[in-house]
């Protein structure tokens, strides 16, 4: 079951949503209501073309994004009883090692990355390989808002409203051939704006690479995100286009993608290669399989503060077990971590 419709008795998330988000949601609902009324009139189309969140929106968003906004299916997937992480935290506490090892480095340095124009190379076992602009890749799809839990392998978590479309739809359009068993992804390497890419002390062999099994990639929960909080992605969050796989540790959800290959063999993935005993290819969120250096049974839901540490139990498959557990039937998840 992909889209959960919460029963009326469980509609308590508004009580715990931060006020700013809550208020803007009301504003958005009111706007939608107006839209419905106007839509009833012939020839008058309603467009929800502003972010329903009270967050900073760049003055100039690319047209490939803004022309998609009116058609967005808002709140297509909403987790039960979760508070959306404030935009400020979601954009200033990031791992994007190309921009530096500290959580604040991406927000400080990523602005310099030029995301327009941007192209993605699609190759390997596909009928239509080529280099496509993000605009072309997004154009055929309706954007959906997916509010997902994000669980980092470092035992912290957030809840983020992404805007994107299922990766499976894009793969289908590319026409996978018989050899398409896995999908391999690569992040851009831009030494002039990414300080760590040239650092002698970085242990990572750039480009950052990730991969999925084809059935994981085709799963309806797996999306390519181009926006967040009703606007385009911030560079530090992986603009212009990133992967979001909500049941896996965050490092699987590769950012600022420049290449997507359909391949026959399990692809090279960055963290697995750097420390194979610590990071597996699958990297499914699993409270029963610890990272060698810390427990994965619990997580800190951010933002935390000195008075409420927000330590909570981690859920199997990050709470998406109903949807994805069948992908791993019969597999020993302690071995294929």
């Amino acid at each position: 079951m992909l889209i959960r419709v919460p029963s009326a008795s469980r509609c308590s998330s508004a009580d715990i949503t931060p006020e700013s988000v809550y208020l803007s949601r009301r504003r958005f609902m009111a706007a939608s209501g107006a839209g419905l009324a106007l839509g009833a009139l012939p020839g008058v189309a309603f467009a929800q073309d502003v972010s329903p969140y009270e967050v900073p929106v760049p003055a100039e968003q690319p047209t490939w994004f803004t022309e998609k906004l009116p058609g967005v299916q808002w709140r297509a997937v909403v987790p039960l009883d979760e508070t959306i992480t404030p935009f400020e935290d979601a954009t200033h506490y990031n791992n994007f090692y190309e921009f530096g090892p500290d959580k604040g480095d991406p927000a400080e340095h990523a602005d310099a990355m030029d995301i327009e124009p941007w192209t993605v190379q699609i190759d390997g076992a596909v009928e239509k390989p080529g280099t496509y602009s993000v605009a072309d890749l997004v154009q055929p799809h309706r954007l959906e808002e997916r509010i997902y839990r994000l669980r980092c392998v470092e035992a912290w978590s957030m809840v983020i409203p992404w805007l994107g479309f299922p990766l499976g739809e894009l793969i289908r359009r590319a026409g996978p051939t018989g050899g398409a068993k896995y999908v391999a992804f690569e992040t851009a390497v831009l030494p002039e704006v990414m300080p760590a890419v040239d650092s002698r002390f970085s242990l990572i062999d750039w480009p950052y690479r990730e991969g999925l099994r084809i059935d994981e990639a085709m799963h309806p929960l797996t999306i390519l995100a181009v926006g967040m909080y009703g606007r385009i992605l911030e560079e530090q969050n992986g603009a212009p286009m990133r992967l979001v796989v909500p049941w896996k540790y965050g490092f699987k959800s590769i950012k600022s993608i420049v290449r997507l290959s359909l391949v026959e063999e399990q692809p090279y993935t960055t963290w697995q290669n750097l420390a194979p005993e610590e990071y597996g290819f699958y990297a499914n969120v699993n409270p029963n399989v610890d990272h060698p250096r810390w427990t994965q049974a619990r997580e800190r839901r951010l933002p935390a503060n000195l008075f409420s540490t927000n330590v909570r139990d981690t859920l199997m498959f990050n709470g998406y077990a109903d949807e994805v557990a069948s992908l791993y039937q019969g597999m020993d998840l302690a071995k294929f971590y």
Binding site: T85, Y93, P101, A196, R293, P303, A304, V311
Partner: protein
């Protein structure tokens, strides 16, 4: 007591950083995960203080000023205090005071074991840092307090195992620690002491009254 102002300044300088970090955490200036940031800063703070403590002897060897040795015990105790705060922050913010989990971590995680060992060494040194222990232990006291070198090794290893992708900062600490240990080799420490003697000699020559002119 010699050097009262110097000692008091060192005391204030040791006290200020944790208070400042707590204040930053209090006002949400440490970001959305202040517990983690406090743990990291207190740990690195302890390492910096340990390196400073270990640099006192070489400074003493090279310079005439006697103030360096007079803050050694204080700095050692500050290092212990920072490590205790580091541990408290870890228990509070990372483990959420889950004691069963602590038991598990102490058994399973090499870097936690190494960190705990370093803390135990510091505890032994802190407990024997008073004059009574110094008298009681006699020459064994000096040997016991060479544990500081073990703490340096354990602390660096503890940090190395936490580093995920960038070892630049760790290499800086390692280089400082290695340099301080190299200065303690007999050859290097003799050279350093000779330099002081040479300088002292030069100074006493300066101070000699001018030769009689008549």
């Amino acid at each position: 007591m010699k050097h009262p102002i110097w000692r008091a300044s060192v005391f204030v300088l040791g006290l200020l950083p944790p208070l400042y970090w707590l204040y930053l955490g209090w006002t949400s200036a440490l970001g959305p995960d202040p517990g983690q940031v406090l743990v990291e800063r207190l740990g690195q703070g302890a390492l910096v203080i340990l390196l400073l403590t270990l640099s006192l002897s070489p400074l003493q060897w090279t310079m005439r000023w006697t103030g360096w040795a007079h803050v050694r015990r204080q700095l050692g105790l500050w290092c212990f205090a920072y490590v205790c705060l580091h541990l408290t922050a870890y228990l509070l913010f990372i483990l959420g005071l889950d004691w069963a989990q602590l038991g598990e971590e102490l058994v399973e995680r090499p870097y936690i074991i190494v960190g705990a060992l370093a803390w135990l060494c510091l505890l032994v040194m802190a407990a024997t840092s008073n004059r009574w222990s110094m008298r009681k232990l006699g020459p064994r006291w000096k040997k016991l307090h060479r544990l500081a070198y073990a703490v340096l090794g354990l602390g660096l290893l503890h940090m190395l195992w936490v580093v995920r992708s960038d070892i630049g900062l760790w290499l800086i600490y390692f280089a400082c620690g290695a340099a301080l240990m190299l200065m303690r080799t007999p050859w290097a420490s003799r050279r350093l002491k000779q330099r002081r003697r040479a300088r002292q000699g030069a100074r006493t020559a300066d101070r000699q009254p001018p030769a009689a002119r008549f």
